[in-house]
């Protein structure tokens, strides 16, 4: 402190301090602003797409809460496409979609906010938030709240709530079957998000399907504990390709981009993607994608909502609803042997007819079950 008159000095310091505070806030704000500008760019890109409506508007509004974003090229995008399709074809109001939500608190709070805004149907496309479904449904009895890929015991399910579940193991099974028949090295890889049953049933379903085609097939599985960590996904896929794997099955979201990059770094390396037809993202390596028809399932749930058909129960969607279909091979059609295509069609028919019974998540939800399950039991009547 310079030795000035105490009183004036003190006052001056106060004003100065306040002024400096403002400059500091401005500086901090500018940093945040730069980031916000980029973020909002993204918002706008996602938000302006739901415009045109062909069906007559009905008085029914829907809100979607999802763990991914509407452009993640995966689960989030597929779910959101379903809402858009419902807006176009059924005339419902798309009240909005809340993206990248992870915590149960976020689902509860955003779900409550939409319910308060008068949403008729709130969809929570994240299996980890059953309590949020129950809580929002209880607090807002006028709204219907449905959660995807989760199980809620009937006793706990409020009258205005439901769950819906795409049975993913059947699609993964046929993908594994196809991969085993297409692989030249006899080694397959799986790169998956998290080791919880809804995911594990896909990983083990793939493994079991591969064994059904070729009992001697080797399947390497890696869990990267992320939907989004592209670096981990790339490294995991790289390791598998280096070990002689030629087809990697992806069961994660935007992290799949890392697997594409690993495949593109070498020759004769392919990827089977999940949830969304990923052909356009990497046409040279995406052999096919397992489509769980999330768009159709989401749209169907909205249709049931408009018709007042939703009851407090768990709905499940299987191959007969297009859940687990494989996307076209596009340019890579020649990579898949003709014989494999024929046999794949037969197996899909067998699953639909019940000749081949792919076990559900109670069996395949356990790690290692795909490798140990008795193949003979698949076709046992």
């Amino acid at each position: 402190m310079s030795p000035r008159h105490p009183a004036t000095n003190n006052q001056g310091a106060g004003v100065k301090r306040a002024l400096r505070g403002c400059t500091a806030i401005l500086a901090a704000g500018l940093i945040a602003f730069g980031a916000a500008a980029c973020g909002d760019d993204e918002e706008a890109a996602g938000g302006t797409t739901g415009g045109s409506t062909t069906a007559a508007p009905v008085d029914f509004s829907v809100a979607l809460l999802s763990p991914g974003s509407s452009n993640d090229g995966s689960w989030g995008e597929a779910s959101y496409d379903g809402v858009e399709a419902a807006a176009t074809e059924l005339g419902v109001t798309d009240l909005g979609h809340a993206e990248n939500l992870l915590t149960p608190d976020e689902y509860t709070q955003q779900g409550a906010a939409y319910a308060k805004e008068g949403a008729n149907l709130v969809l929570m496309a994240n299996g980890s938030v059953p309590q949020s479904v129950i809580k929002v449904a209880t607090d807002y009895p006028d709204a219907v709240v449905c959660g995807a890929a989760m199980e809620i015991p009937a006793a706990d399910l409020p009258a205005n709530a439901c769950t819906y579940d795409p049975e993913q193991q059947e699609g993964a099974f046929s993908a594994g079957y196809l991969a085993a028949l297409t692989s030249k090295t006899g080694k397959l890889g799986v790169v998956a998000g998290f080791a919880f049953p809804a995911l594990t049933r896909q990983v083990e379903g793939f493994t079991l399907g591969a064994r059904y085609a070729n009992p001697d097939i080797q399947v390497q599985q890696v869990y990267i504990n992320s939907w989004t960590d592209t670096a981990a996904a790339k490294a995991a896929a790289q390791a598998q390709y280096a070990a002689g794997v030629d087809i990697v099955f992806s069961a994660t979201d935007s992290a799949t981009q890392g697997i594409f990059a690993a495949a593109q770094a070498g020759d004769d390396r392919y990827v089977i993607a999940s949830y969304f037809d990923s052909h356009e993202q990497a046409p040279d390596v995406v052999l096919t994608s397992v489509l769980y028809n999330l768009e159709g399932v989401t749209k169907e749930m909205i249709r049931r909502g408009t018709a007042g058909e939703i009851k407090p129960e768990g709905y499940s969607f299987g191959l007969d609803f297009g859940v687990g279909e494989l996307a076209p091979f596009y340019e890579l059609d020649s990579v898949v042997p003709a014989e494999a295509k024929t046999k794949l069609a037969e197996v899909i028919a067998d699953i639909e007819s019940g000749t081949v019974k792919v076990p559900d998540e109670k069996v395949l939800g356990v790690e290692g079950s795909g490798a140990s399950f008795d193949l003979a039991a698949l076709t046992a009547s």
Binding site: A24, L26, E43, V129, M150, F196
Partner: protein
């Protein structure tokens, strides 16, 4: 709090509740931040007043919203205490996030392995387990610091990732539940009862408030609290005065861990009724900001936590009613804290060479 012991006046002056001038500057900083951020929102073509109104209505507008704000304030306040106490001793515990996950892990372990017990016995046992686990986990960082001079910022942050993975293993490997990424549900008798049913506020709130009172008593009325504060002012002088700085350091970390562990347990036996992935919306990290805005004073932690909770909960209503992304509230938080730092409202004293 008057200087009732020699030297005490100096300590309290430096570290107790904010003096009026600092408080005034703080309020100015908050208003300034809101003005600056509002201008940005306006520049992006949105209505800033609608945004602010939505945040206030969404957090305090009705009983349900207010209840949600209070319930989010609970983990924020406890994690705030987990940062404030060690920060007072200039021990940089950024590990509340991990300590909270370990607390949650311990809570679910106790709830799922012990035989059925009545709630009044079971709930305290669960909370005790979580507190002990949190204290041990945080104490580990304290031991590594005192025994090996390991930088606690790095250690506590790395332990966060490990703790989250341990909690994940509980979900995927030890007690998996059906389809969802969650553990099995805890028995009904262990779930914290609701004490204000209109707002869905559970016993967690009174427990958290009691814990904060304990933190205040610890810091301002006990010998250990005095030691913690004097280490923060000058560790060398404390050492010279015969204080067992190493013991106090480990104890400080352990105490911080108890608060975070408690927060984790109450998330498990609260609304979620299980250990679920991502149960924490970065409460452990936000707790640091909560503590700083409270200027590390235990008495101010809860108000500070309510402010953060209101921004957090209120901004969740933004997309639904205005189309403004939820990040609006988070930009306010970030700009506000940085602004306070720049305005030197948050200021800690230095002894030359006192780093590490």
């Amino acid at each position: 709090m008057s200087g009732d012991a020699p030297g005490r006046g100096l300590l309290t002056r430096a570290l107790s509740t904010p003096d009026p001038r600092a408080l005034a500057t703080g309020v100015m900083a908050l208003l300034g931040t809101i003005v600056v951020v509002s201008l940005m929102v306006a520049a992006l073509g949105e209505d800033p007043f609608a945004a602010i109104r939505t945040i206030i209505e969404g957090s305090f507008g009705d009983t349900t919203a207010f209840g949600q704000t209070l319930m989010v304030a609970v983990p924020l306040a406890l994690c705030g205490a987990a940062a404030a106490i060690p920060f007072t001793a200039r021990l940089w515990n950024v590990g509340a996030e991990g300590q909270m996950h370990i607390g949650a892990f311990a809570a679910v372990a106790v709830a799922l392995t012990l035989p059925a017990l009545p709630g009044p016995v079971f709930i305290p046992l669960i909370l005790l387990g979580a507190i002990v686990a949190g204290a041990l986990w945080a104490g580990l960082a304290g031991v590594l610091k005192t025994a090996f001079g390991a930088n606690e910022v790095i250690v506590t942050l790395m332990l966060n990732f490990v703790a989250i993975l341990i909690a994940t293993y509980a979900i995927t490997g030890i007690w998996p539940q059906g389809v969802a990424p969650s553990t099995e549900q805890v028995p009904d008798s262990t779930v914290l009862p609701v004490v204000w049913s209109g707002a869905n506020v559970s016993l967690a709130l009174p427990i958290a408030l009691a814990a904060l009172v304990a933190a205040w008593v610890l810091m301002s009325r006990t010998g250990l609290g005095l030691q913690i504060r004097s280490i923060g002012l000058n560790p060398f002088a404390s050492l010279m005065n015969g204080m067992r700085v190493q013991t106090v350091t480990v104890a400080t970390f352990a105490i911080a861990g108890t608060f975070a562990g408690l927060a984790g347990a109450m998330e498990v036996i609260g609304e979620n009724k299980a250990l679920v992935t991502n149960f924490s919306a970065n409460y452990g990290y936000l707790g640091i900001a909560v503590a700083l805005v409270a200027r590390l004073a235990p008495a101010w932690i809860f108000p500070s936590a309510v402010l953060f909770a209101a921004l957090q909960v209120g901004s969740q209503s933004l997309p639904a009613s205005t189309g403004i992304p939820t990040s609006f509230g988070q930009i306010i938080i970030a700009a506000f804290v940085l602004g306070l730092l720049g305005a030197r409202v948050i200021r800690l004293r230095y002894a030359e060479g006192a780093v590490q």
